[in-house]
Symmetry: C2
Subunit: 178 residues, 2 copies
Amino acid sequence: MQNGVTVWFTGLSGAGKTTLSKLVEEKLRQSGARVELLDGDILRRNFTLDLGFSRADRMKNIALAAYIAKLLTQNGVIVLASFITPYQEMRNYCRGEIGPLIEVYVKCPLTECMRRDVKGLYAKALRGEIVGFTGVSDPFEEPVNPDIVVETDKQDADQCALRIVSFVQKYIQEREPQ
Amino acid sequence: MQNGVTVWFTGLSGAGKTTLSKLVEEKLRQSGARVELLDGDILRRNFTLDLGFSRADRMKNIALAAYIAKLLTQNGVIVLASFITPYQEMRNYCRGEIGPLIEVYVKCPLTECMRRDVKGLYAKALRGEIVGFTGVSDPFEEPVNPDIVVETDKQDADQCALRIVSFVQKYIQEREPQ
């Protein structure tokens, strides 16, 4: 059985987490690996509608994601999890809970994320229409010990994805029973 | 890779779903299969605390369970899912969503479940301390097309578990690529 691992993408809204995870998914699938995407937006939209953006509710959302990621990881799946994960406490929790985990910090200056504003969320947050929005009215704590940092304002998405893919493949090979 | 399937245990609270799923888990693990348990109580307690017992909230809880079961099933895991799943609509949803699914109706008369009342929930429900409790103040719709029916007031748990295990093993063998 393939070794499982969770690749956890953390970063601001608009930094490129979903874009990168989809590119990484494509490349890993081409190599024959079993891969699943977990996406913060999808999970929230479909299953945790009643959760808000308080610290406790954010933790619950991440705890659910970590639970699903763990179940898949221990069954040999490569999980690509895209969640803002704004607090270091959350990232520590995920690492402790899931076990084999590669933390990818998708780094992009707040000003650039605001300029992109693909979903129009920053504009809303700045107008005060969304409360507790990460980067605007809620903190994003810089990751303390990411395994990979990709800077999406400096490198193109394909380059970033390739770096992540080779890191993942190396990680999995090294954990294979000799 | 092992073929995945979800074994969905439906039945009243106290009918024996969790007991049976744990016995089935043990027996399947002994045969070397990859197995995961999903349990309604655990999921509710840890991840969907804000959900109540309205029809809509119950559906959300089941939809989350089905989502997790599907992810695992399509990656070759045998999922043992224990949820009251009181409405036929839910069971139809699970079958449609997950694909390979064995529906196990854990059948036990309400009077016997009330007599057992392992968690003391029926007593509370009868005193009106729990609203919308299945069997007391919310309906349990008899499953229309279960794959297996086990009657836990007539057969002992081990016999029931063995029947389920052999059904699961046969199901998986028949789906193996020839």
